[in-house]
């Protein structure tokens, strides 16, 4: 049984159809990397999985719950799906600790004591124990993104969605973020990662999905997609990316 099941997913912005019919499944503990040229619909696809975008047609089923069903409490579903954004989106008026503690406390999941304990443990996990009292504006991009990952993990989710988590980072900071993600993958977290980091995808992913023009063009094990791409568009995309 898939952890996430996507069936016939379509999404239009006005007259512009971005997703033209997506079917796929993510199994429990699986790490799926989504690659493809910009404008191919990767991010929109990811954002449909926790309904940050309302879909135009089709179904997304998470843990056997249709997330579009009016009877489904989308907030409950989201508690179980952590999300990490390209631009971090830390809360600038809270310090690092409060950023992480905020949601579990506000939603009554943890007491202040528990939340603080969790937050400190997560900060240690992402290597930022010394930044607990800092405000986001005083952190580097890589540090911000690691705090953002800790914030998402604080809700203790089963699934993590990453939307180009390293695209806004200076090159020297990409490694520290990918390192944290790599650890998560090893621990068995179910992850869907939209990324341009081909090396990371090749190393960490259980499965790679190549998207173009609103469709899934090709998918498979990383060694297959990167080693022997079948589809012409995949080949030309990888040529361009790997050459650069």
């Amino acid at each position: 049984m898939g952890k996430i099941r996507v069936e016939g997913l379509k999404k239009s912005f006005g007259t512009n159809q971005v997703l033209k019919g997506i079917d796929m499944e993510v199994k429990e503990g699986e790490v799926v990397c989504v690659i493809g040229p910009s404008g191919s619909g990767k991010s929109t696809f990811l954002r449909c999985m926790n309904r940050l975008e309302d879909m135009t047609a089709g179904q997304v089923i998470v843990d056997d719950q249709d997330i579009n069903d009016p009877k489904t409490d989308i907030n409950k579903v989201r508690e179980n799906i952590g999300m990490v954004f390209q631009h971090f989106n830390l809360f600038p008026h809270f310090n690092v600790l409060k950023n992480i503690m905020f949601a579990p406390m506000e939603l009554g999941k943890q007491t202040e004591e528990q939340a603080r304990e969790t937050a400190l443990r997560l900060l240690e996990q992402v290597g930022l124990s010394d930044k607990a009292e800092a405000f986001p504006s005083h952190l580097s991009g890589g540090q911000k993104q690691r705090v953002a990952i800790a914030r998402a993990l604080a809700m203790n989710p089963d699934i993590m969605l990453f939307d180009e988590p390293t695209s806004a980072l200076d090159p020297e900071m990409v490694g520290e973020v990918l390192g944290v993600m790599n650890d998560l993958a090893r621990e068995g977290m179910t992850m869907v990662i939209v990324t341009h980091e081909m090396g990371f995808a090749r190393e960490v992913a259980d499965r790679v999905i190549f998207m173009d023009g609103g469709y899934i063009v090709e998918e498979g094990k990383p060694e297959d997609v990167f080693g022997q791409p079948k589809h012409e568009r995949t080949i030309s995309f990888l040529e361009k990316v790997l050459k650069a």
Binding site: N75, N89, F91, P92, H93, L107, A152
Partner: protein
């Protein structure tokens, strides 16, 4: 919970609009002691009505009305509204009668019933005190003559200007006109006889050089067909006052011979600062009360504007467009004169003033709140929602606290604008700082000194507010 609170606010606002006037009306209409007539008047028409040093309304009209009421045994209450406002208030039945040195004209007779005329006006010419060259109209050839727009003096000057070969310089205000003559820009001025005579008596620096022409007569007015018993009493009382010489005594007190000397500057300041400060206090109170309601309106409509319901968004847009699109003074006239006339009730001035300012500022505050919320990056809301936080919690805990920092300078700016806008409401007779200044000038003719003091008072208060604003802005920028 939220909806209930919003409802309560709306309700209290409605109560403020409708409840208070109803309460006042029932208090006035006590049958046992007889009706208390509401009499509208001008605020600054010396020598007929103006405030003395103690803030009491005095003048020919005031003393005459007092004597007539005593003679005829009726009760009344004076509503100093300003001339145009008083006339409109009579039309919209906000007052029972108007006594304001009002000329009896054919046009006005269409709408009002007038008493017997009690004062014959006319036009008088005056020149600078030490001017000995100009003794009559013939000496005006090639010179400039100051007149006040809309007065008999203006029409008279126009009618003889080509004959005597002088040019007309129009002014809006008697004191400005006198200043122009004193400064030597204009050789002479024409003004309504009683006004000019009173000015000369107050040592305004001019002297009379002609006898008054035959002009219009002043009368007391009630709405056509209404309050006839009041009109009859007025006429009967006036006849008695004329018979026993009381009326002449009142008239002479204001416009016959030389009166007391004019004030020195320090005396003037000593005398004027307390009422001006009182006016400033009123200005601040109106500003604060209005902004309080404007803030509530802004919160309601601001959230409607950023919300997801298209009907609520539309309603909020209409609100903003409507009250941003109507000039404040038109809105004030509409609320104070228009609505009560259409619906047939009396609206207290304070309520009308606060309502006008609240609606106007409310529209702007709505936009400040909308702009503030929309200036927060969309990613903040997405991050909060992706953690499982509901929309309202995300709004209150994540978006609003950040938006408020951005809004604070705009709020202070609106505070400054609303504070200045209160002066516009002097047009419906609201006594605040500007109106207080007008009142003192009507008595003393010291326009330069008084307007300077008024300007400085506004300046001080607004500068303090602007300083606070920039300090807050700096604080916000540096976290």
């Amino acid at each position: 919970m939220k909806t209930i609170r919003v409802l309560l606010f709306t309700l209290s606002l409605l109560l403020l609009v409708t409840g208070i006037p109803l309460g006042l009306e029932s208090a006035e209409a006590e049958p046992a002691t007889g009706k208390v007539y509401q009499i509208g008047t001008d605020i600054t028409f010396a020598p007929f009505e103006f405030q003395d040093v103690d803030g009491k309304y005095v003048g020919i009209d005031m003393e005459m009305l007092e004597a007539i009421a005593k003679d005829q045994n009726f009760k009344y209450e004076i509503k100093p509204l300003g001339f145009n406002a008083a006339v409109q208030a009579l039309e919209s039945h906000q007052v029972d009668g108007v006594i304001a040195g009002m000329s009896i004209t054919e046009e006005r007779k269409q709408k009002f019933d007038f008493s017997e005329p009690y004062f014959d006006s006319g036009v008088l010419m005056a020149v600078k005190e030490d001017n000995t060259d100009i003794k009559g109209y013939e000496d005006l050839k090639g010179k400039k003559v100051a007149v006040k727009t809309g007065t008999e003096g203006y029409s008279f000057a126009e009618s003889i200007s080509s004959k005597y070969g002088f040019t007309i310089v129009p002014f809006d205000d008697s004191s400005q006109m006198y200043e122009d003559v004193k400064a030597g820009n204009s050789a002479a001025c024409f003004d309504d006889y009683p006004v000019l005579a009173y000015g000369v008596k107050q040592k305004n620096g001019l002297k009379r050089v002609t006898e008054p022409t035959k002009g219009a007569s002043y009368g007391f007015a009630v709405s056509k067909g209404q309050n006839q018993e009041l009109l009859e009493k007025f006429n009967a009382g006036l006849a008695n006052l004329n018979a026993n010489g009381e009326y002449d005594r009142i008239k002479d007190k204001y416009i016959s011979d030389e009166g007391p000397g004019s004030l020195s500057r320090s005396e003037l300041m000593k005398q004027s600062i307390p009422p001006l400060l009182k006016g400033l206090g009123k200005t601040l109170i109106y500003t604060i009360v209005s902004l309080f309601f404007a803030f509530i309106l802004g919160l309601i409509f601001g959230f409607m504007k950023v919300g997801r319901n298209k009907w609520l968004r539309g309603a909020a847009t209409v609100f903003v467009d409507l009250f941003r699109g109507i000039p404040l003074i038109v809105l004030a006239f509409f609320i104070y004169f228009g609505i009560p006339q259409a619906l047939g009730f009396k609206m207290p001035l304070f309520v009308a003033a606060v309502l006008t300012l609240s609606l106007n500022a409310g529209a702007y505050v709505t936009e400040i709140i909308r702009g503030g919320i929309e200036s927060i990056d969309r990613g903040q809301m997405e991050a909060a929602r992706s953690l499982g936080l509901p929309y309202r919690k995300s709004m209150m805990k994540i978006i609003i606290p950040q938006a408020i920092r951005i809004m604070i300078p705009s709020f202070i700016n609106q505070l400054v604008i609303t504070l200045k806008d209160t002066s516009i409401l002097s047009a419906i007779g609201l006594v605040e700082l500007t109106q207080s200044g007008k009142i003192i000038i009507a008595r003393t003719f010291a326009s330069f000194d008084i307007w300077l003091m008024v300007a400085v008072m506004y300046l001080i208060v607004i500068t303090i507010l602007t300083k606070i604003s920039s300090r807050l802005e700096r604080k916000v920028r540096h976290g």
